[in-house]
Each structure stands twice: as C-alpha cells, then as structure tokens.
Symmetry: C2
Subunit: 348 residues, 2 copies
DNA sequence: ACGTCCTATGAAAACGTTTACGTTCGCGCC
DNA sequence: GGCGCGAACGTAAACGTTTTCATAGGACGT
C-alpha cells in the first residue's frame, strides 16, 4: 500500500501539515523556498492527496455525472468524447451511468450518484419536471440535453432539429423536387417531434400549395423500409422523401431499390444524423449532420459554468446548429461526379 | 442543501450514530425493531450516506475506473455498455477517462484516478509492464484488455484474434478460393499482430503450398483502398482478400469496384470486427464478429473478483471467442439469395 | 523603547462515517 | 447470591484533508 499521507510529507519536510496543504494548493501564505522544499518532498514521496478526505471537507468532488439512455454507436461515443475532453481540460472527472431505458432505472442511477458528483449531465427520454423534482437533490447543478423540459430551473441544451429539418426540406425543394414526403419518428421522442415540426414549417414556407405527406416510423431501419413501401403505394408518388433519421432513410432506400427505382433519378431521399453508415450506402445518403462532440463539450462547459458560480447563473436554453451534408441521394449533384469521401482516421 | 447526516437520523430515532450505522449496514448487533425504526426514520429524512466520508474510513470507493484510448463508434459504446451493465449489477460506479492517444495523456489520467477507484480497467495501445509499474499504484487491482502484456501481475483479457483470423482464412479457402491475400494492420497494434499471426497459421495449416501474400495497411479505409490497388497490380491477382479490419476491407472493396471487378465473383473479400457499416456496403461484407459487450462485461467481472478477494486470486489470462459472419463478399453463398438483415433495434 | 501590523507557521477543529472498545443489563448456572 | 456471558447499545477514536485561529517574531513608525 502506498498510504503516504500529508503527515508523512510534513514530517519529512519538517513542517506542519497545514503548511504542506498550503504549499500544495497555490502556496499563498507560505514562504517561497519552504513551499519549494515541500513540493520536492511531496513529489519524491509520490504523495497524492486522498480524494475522499479532500471531498469530505471541501464539499467538492471534482466529478460530474452523466446519465444516459441506451445509446447507439457513434452518437454515444462522440457524446462521451466531447464531454470527456472538456471535463479533462477542467480537471473534472466523469462518472458515467448509461443504458437506462426505464424510468425506475434512471431514477435509481440518479440517486446512486448522490454525493459523488458536483453536477449532472442528463440525457434521457423520460426526464420531465416531475422526475427531476423527485430524484434530483435540489441545488445540484444539472444540464439537460435534448430535452423537452422548459423549466426555468435547469439549463437545457438542444440540437436545432427544427432548423436542420427545415433547411433540408428547403434544399430538396430547391433541387427541383416538387413534392417532399416525410417519414416521422416515434411521437414520444423529442428529436422526432422537432424534426416533424421543421418539415411542416419548411413546407408551409417554401411550398405552401403542396400538401403535407407524413408517414409514421419509429427510427428503426425496418420502420423506414415499411414507410418506403407505403410511400410507393401512394397514388401520387412523392418526388423526394425526407426521413427523420438516417436509419429509416436507409431502410427506405432498400425499399426503393427493391422496387427497381433509381435514387435519386426517380425519387430523392435524405436522412438526419449523419451516422457513419450514411456515406457507405449506395448511393450515398444526403443528410443533416449534428456535431455531437460539440453537444457534449458545450454541455459540460455550461455545467462547469454553473459550478463556478452557483449564485444566480440563470438557467438558460441553448441550441446547437446543424449542417446539411449533400451526397448522392438528394439529387442535387447529378451532374457532378461525387468524390467518395475517404476518411483516413478511425483506426478501429 | 440536503445536508442530512447520520447524526440527524440518530437524534430523530433517539439512538446513537453507531446504531444507525449498524442498522443501515446489514443490521447485525442491533435489535430487530430498533433497526426497523431507524430505517424508517432514515428514509423519511431522505438520508443518503456521504460517500466520501464512508470512503475515507472504509478505504473503498465502490468505483472502478476505465482507461480507454480514442475509440471509435460501435466498439466504444458496446464496450462501455458491457462494463456499465456489469458494474451496475454489482453496485459499482464507473469512472471513465477516454480518448487518450499519447502515453503521457494515459499516464496522467491514470494518476488522476489515484484513490478515486478501487480498481482499473485498462485498454490502451501503450500499456506495457514498465508503464504500469510507473503509473499504477501497486496493489491497485487492474484488468488489461486486449493487451500484449504477459505479466504474472495483471489479469489480461483478450479477443481471440488468432482463432478468428484463422477461421476466416479457413472459410475462404474452404469456399474454393485457392489463394488468399492479407491486408495487415499497423505493426504496433496488438490486434493487428494477432490477426496477422492467425492468417499465417491458417495458411500454413490449410494451404501449405500457397505462398503468403501480405500487403500493409494501418486500419484506415484509405490504406485499405491503397492495398486493394496494390493487390490488383500483382501479376497473379489473389482469389480472395482478407483485411485485418472492416474499414480496410471497405476501402479495398471500393478499389475493386473502381477497377470494374465483381465481388465476390472475380475476387472475394472479408474483414474483421463486424462494424455496423459491414452489412450496409454493397455487396455486404463478410467478417469476423467480436462480442464487444461480452468483453466489457467479463472484464468487469474479473476485476470484481479481484476486488472481492485480493488474497491470491492469481492473475490470469482469458480469451474471448469470435464468430464468422458470412455475408456476400466472401462468395460462400453465391447460390442462395442472402436476405438483407434488418435490425429493428437501435433508435438512434 | 514600545506598540502595531504583517508574514510565516503551527495547533487543532471540523467534515461524516465506521468500528473497536466499554458499559449496562438480563439470564442462566453453579 | 455470585459469576460469567452475550446481546444491545453508546462513546470515542480514527480516516486525511482544509481552514480557522493563535502565536511568534520581525519590520516599522513614532
């Protein structure tokens, strides 16, 4: 056992523990060369302050907790990466609890983090004001990600789904596709709601005389496939289809291929998320990209802000922009040969 | 501030703090109904033991740390999911530090976790005996993932890359492809080394008279593309190509398509990892699947074992099997129509 | 020479637990 | 009745820090 404590350092440096503590924490109120000597002794003994003891008296854990649902692939890893990077830059640790699909699960995890963290990052389908009130100790700073909660008590950080969807619909219309159908996501999902809203807003604004055409889906590839078949069965087949996420777009793409249609000549297609698969399907999928890393990073930054000055940093709401990624399925670059985007990173 | 401590509970229940502690921790040595009463008071006051105070005296944090490199997508999320699930089942918390690409980074992160965790899960390219000796406090239990370290001091958990690669090469040969080339990964990478080894072993065993044919790559898609062109330029084009990972296989696939070759008729192809993209490229990629969730889960289970009884649980080495996933690029199911595998899960 | 202030330092309290050690008390046994 | 014993419970020490307060000793102005 290492077990080298502040007392050992004090004895070795022939000073009191108080001086050691002072020297190691900024060194104010202690002579410069004494401080220097203490530091040397400390590093020689490989002294590491006992985090728990420090927490006990400081009331600071220097740790933030992340409560996440059962996320999938890229989204999860990018989000964590963003959070982790920003946390490390601030000397904060990251306590993760993921894969919560039920409310009880999430509540239990939240309670288990009690006292272990200085603040929380929460991304969960079932957080609402009541849930938070019941399970989140008041005065524990928290930042909500992608949440419909509009409380004045919590800072929330959202992806600008509306603007992203709106921009894509506009792009499709602008590419000459007169009619644009929409494959919706699960009605309970906040992202899905917002994207739906964006579709409707864009249609109203840029193609006010074209009737809306919405078929339902649940974000799964299979539901996208079904939606695709459903659209093909319509009397007037739409010129373009906008799916609320990429997985559904991929399913839809297979339905079109199966029917012998040429994408984008016969029918254009676009998705949302820019999952890695998007660039590898044939033809490659046009979509709306969300910078997930940024979402994680700025979430942590907001939280860190809250930690610094808990005194009236008013809870605020922020929005993260999206960008349109034009590939082959949207039919906007028919005449140009689309270069295959090779990414040289990612050695896994 | 909640700030309800054990003293508050004791006062309210008219007992000493010692009895409260006893009642809440198994309740031995305390009268049954006293214990009951204490519990009621505790839950009524919403008492939550202060984790740091408990850690200070117990020397247990009930937290395990995970040190991970800059992982990518599915691999990362699945690994964390496996670890998280197993940890939660044991009441352990998970402190994550990821995205470490340099040795210094990893060392710093390891030291920062000092005293915050009861044990470590380490997956990193640059861990070796010396690194661990320098940065890991002795007597801190650790489990190494996918590591070349063969120390008797640490438990290591590896993917059976050799057997996986071996099985795939055998499968390709068995499908009638007389010659099999190999696209190697970065020489410094342990997985890459093992897969290379598997290729060589299989060729020696099942096709001893066929010359080896290895071109180099670095796990990136781009290097796979280059390797593919290199293979096509050979005098005797191989009948099948086995890439050390899926990304390179995908790059290679594009090189073949570009050259107008039909895969798998003209040349067969296989990868390793079964990343999600594998099933979406056209034709879909045959590959070797690794159950990453299991890797995470059993890593945590080994570590938990170490924590339970630090007294001579001899450090051991374990291996996790792979399975071959036959899709279209390997040419093994030419005559059957391969059903497109739709996954209905994954709503993200 | 003397009070005053300032700097460097040490002593000790406090944080909230767990646990070793006493103390009390009831009970059975000789 | 004395004795030992075990169960129930309380007292207090201990864990390793930070921080408040006290003290000593200069420097400095008068």
């Amino acid at each position: 056992m290492a077990a080298v404590t502040i007392k050992d350092v004090a004895r070795e440096a022939k000073v009191s523990v108080a001086s050691v503590s002072r020297a190691l924490n900024g060194g104010v109120g202690v002579n410069a060369d004494t401080s220097q000597r203490i530091r040397e002794v400390a590093s020689r003994l490989r002294y590491v302050p006992h985090a728990a003891a420090r927490t006990l008296i400081t009331r600071r854990t220097n740790t933030i907790g992340a409560l996440l649902p059962d996320l999938y692939g890229e989204f999860f890893s990018e989000l964590i990466r963003g959070i982790d990077l920003a946390a490390r830059a601030r000397g904060l640790h990251l306590l993760v609890s993921s894969s919560h699909d039920s409310v009880e699960d999430a509540a239990a995890a939240l309670r288990a983090m009690q006292g272990r963290v200085d603040g929380m990052l929460i991304l969960s389908a079932h957080v609402n004001a009541a849930f938070l009130h019941d399970n989140l100790p008041e005065a524990l700073p928290a930042v909500l990600l992608n949440s419909a909660v509009k409380s004045t008590d919590y800072t929330v950080l959202n992806i600008d789904n509306v603007a992203g969807a709106c921009a894509m619909v506009r792009h499709l219309l602008g590419a000459g596709h007169a009619t644009v159908a929409f494959i919706a996501g699960p009605a309970s999902n906040f992202d899905a709601q917002q994207r739906d809203k964006g579709y409707r807003a864009a249609m109203k604004k840029y193609a006010p005389h074209v009737p809306l055409n919405v078929v339902s889906g649940d974000f799964s590839e299979e539901s996208g496939y079904r939606a695709g078949r459903q659209l093909l069965a319509q009397k007037l087949r739409p010129r373009a289809v906008f799916a609320a996420n990429d997985m559904m777009a991929v399913g839809c793409l297979y339905a079109f291929k199966e029917a012998g249609l040429d994408v984008p000549q016969d029918i254009a297609l676009a998705g949302f998320d820019d999952i890695p698969i998007a660039r590898y399907v044939t033809p490659s999928l046009s979509t709306v990209r969300v910078r997930i890393v940024d979402l994680g990073r700025s979430a942590l930054e907001r939280l860190a802000e809250l930690l610094e000055k808990p005194d009236h940093v008013t809870a605020s709401a922020h929005t993260l922009g999206c960008e349109i990624v034009v590939r082959d399925t949207c039919g906007a670059n028919l005449n140009t040969v689309s270069p295959r985007n090779i990414r040289s990173s990612g050695n896994r």
